[in-house]
């Protein structure tokens, strides 16, 4: 126990310096770096190196977390602030599953759980993560064993089935925060229900951490969460500049801290750095792609396993994804968190996340993003394994065209599993979509 604590502390203290040196020594030519005039991207973001450092440190420290500090595995939309205030190390299986997808590990991991009876039609993240739990395979070395699983239904109901399966496997408690779906505006009774559950969470988590919540620590975490969301919003707002200083594909990677480190100083420090770099690029007219001719919105999760080829084909033709509902979702709701009323404001913020809201809201959100960013087109990723995000997209597509004059493409894929991807079909559809702009 003492050794684990020492290891965990040592990694947390020395890790940043060591990783910084390692990343400088091992610096690889990044996207757009001196690779010839034909390269369609702008110069790479310097912040990318720091991003790799803090995410590597997050996973590295995680290896030594169990036994040293309480460990919680949490869903991306879970109100993590009470856990951080209690000293939990938070692991985000969704973020980890995205890493697995980028590393093209999902077919192997999914096959392992398909053999147990899991359907290939289930969420690709869930299959990947359960596959890791079954096989022990992970691209991050090792995930700490959880003491508590924390699931909030504000992003989907799927996460509850997924986390139940994890709870069954690890034999640890599952804390559920149920988020009633919001039609129009959140109802007072629903906010109260959510806040009631937060109070219950504090008890459950406090029991595992062996201490009661320090109110001061909670208020500070809540403040950091709000600040982090606002900083992330500033980064995203940089995409409104013409040319946009980065691409939506960059944003998909750079959103990792707001998902996995929300409510920490590291997260906010990182976004200050990123924001400053983006603003600097704006002032110098440096774009995310070399020749930005058309600006697009992306809807739904990224196709993690095809980010590179997708971004390249778009950039080569002068198309830049300058905003996305997915990345923006992390900026919108979090800004509602208020240290003056932690439980009440967390209830408001976490109930009102994009996926927990009705289609008229989603449509208005997409229209707003298009209008603010000057996007004249939208790619709606019809995600086979994320039904809550994909249901309604056919209508959203039609309405974006008819009500906002936005050209649209519905592109079918799976956010995590490349086996559902048809290269040829997607290529033809993208080509036809891009031709329509000429």
């Amino acid at each position: 126990m003492i050794l684990r604590k020492l290891q965990y502390k040592a990694i947390s203290c020395l890790g940043p310096g060591l990783l910084s040196v390692a990343s400088r020594i091992g610096k690889r030519p990044g996207r757009g770096s001196a690779q010839g005039a034909a390269h369609p991207f702008g110069p790479p973001l310097e912040s990318g190196r720091k991003l790799r450092e803090i995410m590597s440190l997050h996973y590295l420290s995680g290896r030594y977390a169990d036994g040293a500090v309480p460990v919680a595995w949490v869903t991306s939309g879970f109100p993590v602030e009470p856990l951080r205030a209690l000293g939990f190390h938070a692991v985000y299986p969704e973020n980890h599953a995205a890493v697995c997808s980028v590393k093209r590990l999902v077919p192997e991991l999914s096959a392992a759980v398909e053999r147990l009876g899991y359907s290939r039609e289930l969420c690709g993240y869930a299959r990947a993560d359960l596959g890791c739990a079954v096989t022990g395979t992970t691209p991050v070395g090792r995930l700490p064993r959880p003491d508590l699983l924390c699931c909030c239904t504000n992003i989907c109901q799927t996460v509850l089935y997924w986390f139940r399966a994890l709870a069954d496997r690890f034999r640890v408690p599952l804390a559920v925060v149920d988020a009633p779906f919001v039609y129009g505006e959140a109802k007072a009774g629903h906010l109260e229900y959510f806040a009631d559950q937060l109070r219950g969470l504090a008890e459950t988590a406090g029991g595992i951490a062996g201490r009661a919540t320090d109110r001061g620590a909670l208020l500070e975490t809540v403040r950091l969460s709000r600040e982090g969301s606002l900083l992330w919003a500033e980064c995203l707002a940089a995409g409104r500049a013409v040319p946009s200083p980065w691409t939506g594909f960059d944003a998909f990677f750079h959103m990792a801290p707001i998902v996995a480190l929300r409510g920490t100083k590291e997260c906010n420090g990182y976004y200050r750095m990123l924001r400053d770099e983006l603003n600097d690029r704006i002032s110098r007219g440096v774009g995310g792609i070399g020749n930005e001719r058309f600006r697009l919105l992306w809807d739904n999760l990224p196709v993690w396993h095809r980010l590179r080829p997708l971004s390249a084909v778009l950039a080569e033709n002068g198309f830049n994804i300058v905003c996305s509902t997915y990345a923006a979702a992390w900026a919108e709701a979090g800004a509602a968190i208020d240290p003056a009323d932690p439980e009440g404001s967390m209830a408001r913020a976490y109930l009102n996340v994009l996926l927990n809201r009705d289609l008229p809201y989603r449509l208005s959100f997409m229209k707003r993003l298009c209008a603010e960013s000057g996007s004249t087109g939208a790619i709606l990723h019809s995600d086979r394994s994320c039904k809550p995000y994909s249901i309604g997209q056919v209508d959203l597509q039609r309405r974006l065209v008819s009500e906002a004059g936005v050209r649209t493409l519905l592109l079918e894929a799976d956010h995590a599993d490349p086996r559902s991807w048809s290269e040829e079909q997607a290529g033809h559809r993208l080509a036809a979509f891009m031709e329509s702009f000429e």
Partner: protein, 364 residues
């Protein structure tokens, strides 16, 4: 048939509400004189091109329901209730009312996910009160608690009879197809009328065993296509235990308390239902329940009849495999998409499964 029943209820001055799967407070609707007609698809090809507004990887229950509503299939109804059963029906609950397909009043019935806890009980009660308020606006009359008390008793009696018919299956001189037709008439009959039919069937239960063949447990979402029962019968099997979300999982495990505030009694009903993945019940508790049901019924095998793309049902499949493998009980997974008829491939698989059980000893 349903339109005849709806017309009759309208003549009696009752409002008709279409209800999507799975769980909703039947007692509340009955107490307020609202006639519930459930919409499980319907099976078969979608009734209109509106199904294409939902991608092909969304379950047929949601796609067919959208097509049915958008084609005017619910024109005789006065409103629709969308329980929050799963992500797909939750999505449908905004898609059809907000973007077209259902223009009449739409009520959402949200029920809590997770375990029984004080916050969840309080939430159920507040949702019941909210729904009662919406129904009061529809019917023009408020909820009367004595009527709710009577409705709770009426439905408790319906549940008792349904439980009896299912648990005493070997002694009931009805084919599976006939029994399920009877049970599923509860999806659209006025509860009082349904009660009479159930009571009549229950009077036919005999002391001697009348059902012979291979006893099976069936678990799944909805027994569609109904020809699955003809196929089982032809293969020499019968349903000895039921765990369909549409049937057995909606029969409360114990009757409500006889006394107390009716709204509290009704709220409590939510937590007395058999474990069901659509209510995100604990998997361990569900497996324990299924094993107990299986053993009590003397079933020789399990048919897991799951709709394609149904996340709630599909997430539990590995646990069912594991649980019944440990118990030495064979499991057949039959995937369906609300077809009008059982496919020849599915029929062959069922026949082969039953055949294999005929030559196998009893389960542990």
């Amino acid at each position: 048939m349903r339109s005849v029943v709806i017309a009759r209820q309208k003549k009696l001055g009752r409002k008709t509400v279409i209800v999507l799967p799975v769980l909703y407070p039947r007692e509340l609707l009955t107490a307020m004189g609202v006639h519930a007609v459930e919409l499980w698809g319907p099976p078969g090809p979608p009734r209109s091109p509106a199904a294409g507004r939902l991608q092909g990887y969304v379950c047929a229950v949601a796609r067919n329901a959208l097509a049915f509503l958008a084609s005017g299939g619910g024109r005789d109804a006065d409103a629709a209730i969308f329980p929050h059963t799963c992500d797909s029906i939750q999505g449908l609950a905004t898609l059809a009312p907000d973007f077209g397909g259902w223009e009449k009043p739409a009520y959402r019935y949200l029920h809590p996910k997770g375990e029984d806890r004080p916050a969840a009980r309080k939430f159920v009660r507040s949702e019941l009160e909210r729904l009662a308020g919406e129904l009061a606006r529809l019917t023009g009359r408020p909820l009367e608690l004595p009527r709710l008390s009577e409705a709770i008793s009426l439905h408790a009696e319906i549940d008792r009879l349904r439980r009896e018919l299912l648990s005493r299956r070997p002694f009931l001189p009805l084919s599976d197809a006939a029994l399920y037709r009877l049970l599923r008439r509860g999806e659209y009959l006025w509860p009082g009328d349904h009660l009479e039919e159930l009571a009549c069937a229950a009077r036919g239960i005999r002391d001697d065993r009348v059902r012979h063949g291979v006893p099976l447990m069936v678990s799944g979402y909805v027994p569609e296509p109904m020809s699955v029962f003809d196929c089982l019968e032809a293969a020499g099997a019968f349903v000895a235990a039921d765990d369909y979300a549409a049937v057995g999982r909606r029969i409360a495990l114990s009757p409500p308390p006889a006394e107390g505030d009716p709204l509290d009694r009704l709220s409590g009903m939510h937590f007395r239902m058999p474990p069901c993945p659509t209510r995100t019940s604990d998997t361990g508790a569900r497996m324990e329940y299924l094993l107990s049901l299986f053993r009590r019924s003397g079933a020789a095998g399990v048919v897991l009849h799951v709709p394609k793309f149904c996340e709630p049902e599909n997430f539990d499949v590995p646990a069912v495999f594991r649980t019944f493998a440990d118990a030495g009980a064979p499991v057949l997974v039959l995937e369906s998409e609300l077809e009008a008829e059982l496919s020849a491939q599915s029929a062959t698989r069922l026949e082969a499964f039953v055949e294999s059980l005929k030559f196998k000893g009893p389960s542990r």
